[in-house]
Symmetry: C2
Subunit: 459 residues, 2 copies
């Protein structure tokens, strides 16, 4: 085992070193992310337009593209102390196994019961809902990590929590449902007969296995039709990337302590919350021209928003009840094959990351799921941690970049986000272990048909 750099296997910050502010990368962007538009009028939505759906303070955060540092309330910082700081791990064992001169680090967000980074934003959103005196919140969940995180956060602040869970995950992951119920949440498979938008989707696509876009529509309908409820979202939105910046700020603080500067930063990208959070302070330096980093977004070949999507205004949800967002999108009607294991199934991408990608600050690539599980298994066996399929997209590319370094002899420093654990993904691992997993790549024709549904908006 090489350990010549005198860097510990795991770097933990002390409580005093933990972030006191979130990092708002929009403050550093010359071209700001495009505003949300009212789907009826095509006009940008302001604070008052968004109030029926979102909590007040979260809207302020959503619209704030000028303040670089936003204080983390002490109640949230106290909750963070229960499961953070997350370790920044030096992957000595993986490096040795790969025979690479590259130095690999990963920021591991899976050491909490939600099993992922999602808790970072869930606790913030629950806190602001409680502050506003609300009764409860509604949301959607795909793989179940966000729903679990929100259930935990709501239970902590004694808020009601109604979760719409994408049907294929609901069926593949009954245990996730029970974790949410243990934390007191109600869980409904989506699309469901309990909402008018759910009924409409079921009528148009009988037997659909659902998508995040469907579940969002249902959750928004319930929030806006029940007094004292608001809708909260676990990814895509600016506010979520803001809360997730705690990942990046901790990572940068830890690296700075040891004088380490990354060459490459890698994250998986579904809606963009993990990647956006991880890169925030690094991207700030890049945008200000102080440092340069290669930043790589990794998406599944089955749902390739960045690499094959269009940069356009689109609906955030299948039912078209949400504001329009300018983003890389596959079209809100796009529903990824049920064949795909785990999360990253969303048709669109964070507006902030979309703008950064459009402006050339981020690279993107897509990978097939069999290659992802191959990397996941290799990683699990040497680093101990059984990774979530989502996180394993980043592992795949980190390994590929490390292998390139083996060819060139370059001692690059690679940092990737390990967003969570795969304990609830054993159905997918079983498929892979049995050699029964296959890949799915949408055809150009499928994508063209989906793009045809994009709304006509100048943006």
């Amino acid at each position: 085992m090489k350990n010549s750099d005198n860097i510990p296997y795991k770097i933990y910050l002390s409580e005093e070193e933990m972030p006191k502010t979130w990092y708002n990368v929009r403050a550093d962007m010359k071209t700001k992310p495009a505003p949300l538009l009212n789907p009826g009028t095509g006009k940008p939505m302001g604070f008052d337009d968004l109030r029926p759906v979102f909590c007040d303070e979260l809207i302020r955060q959503e619209l704030n593209d000028t303040d670089r540092e936003i204080p983390i309330p002490v109640e949230i910082r106290n909750f963070y102390k229960m499961y953070r700081p997350s370790p920044l791990v030096r992957a000595y064992c993986l490096e040795e196994k790969l025979g690479t001169p590259a130095k690999i680090y990963y920021k591991f967000e899976g050491n909490n019961t939600s099993g992922s980074h999602k808790l970072n934003s869930a606790i913030a959103q629950a806190y602001y809902a409680k502050q506003q005196g609300l009764k409860g919140v509604t949301t959607e969940t795909g793989a179940g990590q966000w729903g679990t995180a929100l259930s935990m956060a709501c239970s902590y602040f004694d808020l009601d929590c109604k979760v719409f869970m994408v049907k294929c995950s609901y069926e593949q992951k009954p245990f996730r449902r029970e974790v949410m119920r243990t934390y007191g949440a109600s869980v409904t498979p989506s699309p469901s007969e309990t909402t008018s938008v759910g009924r409409a989707i079921l009528k148009e696509h009988p037997g659909t296995t659902g998508s995040l876009g469907c579940a969002i529509s249902e959750a928004v309908e319930v929030a806006t039709s029940n007094p004292g409820y608001r809708y909260v979202l676990g990814s895509v939105l600016n506010q979520v990337l803001l809360h997730q910046s705690v990942i990046g700020v901790e990572t940068k603080t830890a690296l700075d302590k040891y004088g380490v500067t990354p060459d490459i930063i890698i994250g998986c990208a579904g809606g963009g919350s993990n990647l956006g959070g991880l890169i925030s302070p690094f991207m700030g330096e890049k945008l200000r021209g102080e440092k340069d980093y290669r930043i790589i977004a990794v998406e599944p070949a089955s749902c390739p928003s960045f690499t094959r999507g269009k940069f356009a205004y689109d609906f955030c949800d299948t039912g078209k009840v949400c504001p329009l967002s300018k983003m890389y999108t596959l079209g809100s009607n796009f529903i990824p094959s049920a064949n795909h294991a785990g999360g990253l199934r969303y048709h669109g991408m964070s507006t902030t990351l979309s703008q950064l990608y459009h402006d050339g600050y981020i690279e993107a690539c897509s990978v097939e799921q069999t290659k992802v599980f191959e990397a996941a298994t290799q990683f699990a066996r040497v680093e101990g941690i059984l990774p979530a399929p989502e996180s394993s997209h980043a592992i795949r590319v980190a390994i590929d970049e490390a292998l390139k370094c083996r060819e060139t002899g370059e001692e690059k420093t690679i940092v990737f986000g390990l967003t969570g654990t795969g304990y609830f993904d054993m159905v997918a691992y079983e498929k892979y272990n049995n050699g029964e997993m296959s890949d799915y790549i949408p055809t150009d024709e499928e994508l063209e048909a989906s793009f045809a549904t994009l709304p006509k908006v100048e943006g």
Copy 2:
């Protein structure tokens, strides 16, 4: 949130502070644990007698009751660095919720993929097997945590791993099986038709849901009938308690750093590995008369070895192929109700802990599983972590002791072992959530019938 003591939510040791030696509590015992006996001759078993079953170095550790500190090889310490130190958590949120003046700490061993403390001994046993040039090892697993831990350890050292999994867990926890397979292990439900002892048990008890005792017999048979294999065990044995002392040494180092002395130390007790490890250095002080601690072993009412068992020589396994061990036992024929959720199903108890209990150094109590899940849910909602049913036995009693402090106003310091997470126990949680869980307490007649099978040995 009270935080007036200036003690962090989580105390992590640095790599330099991590233990370099295991703590062998037997060195401090005036009355040593009774030796293992040959079931045929009734004679104490020495090094040569044990070699067909166990790895050489592990036998030396098993028999060593004189050296207090045993060095941890650097390879094992390096592996420990991948997932240790485990945090010692101050349960501020639980204290507040309970309104107790007690100060509650828990040592959380669940932040690794095996989900429990079992990895501490698995990696040590795999290391010594590899050192001896073996091809592989066999073992049993109940709830699946030990099997998962051993699979991870064997995969790391490239050893073959054959696991016999108690049938009721195999069926209730298919995901555990897939984790083990992901790490390259083979997993067989026990009792099985693949061994002669398995076939005999099935003949005598058709349709049995199995027990740890059965699975041990099968694993031992396979180890002794395949050249290059040895049997390894995840609990009960002295060597396992020795490896698990890393829990106690870390706990004591962390508490000492902050000048904290516990009044009460609580652990769940199935075979005794967690409790034995947690208390080791504290028990050393108690045995030497330097300090006094209340030490409480918590066992399930459905499998009450300490509180209702006999202190006698008994078989470690149902098939009676293992050495005889002097311990608190319910009789090797005792098979707990399948109704019971999770581990702690073993009929006996560590010889070391049995002697300490017999000599009055440990208290014991038993708790019913509905009360355990009530405590588990309460804990999960305020402390975030979803605990394993096994660990929740300790939570139950820690809460009860904290509530007593609320009555008396005493500011006692309570430390308990939180051995693992419950992500693979959601079937049991679902039962509890649905109000379908019931309790099971064996009758005196059942126990008497089981005691009648104890071997006639003077001990």
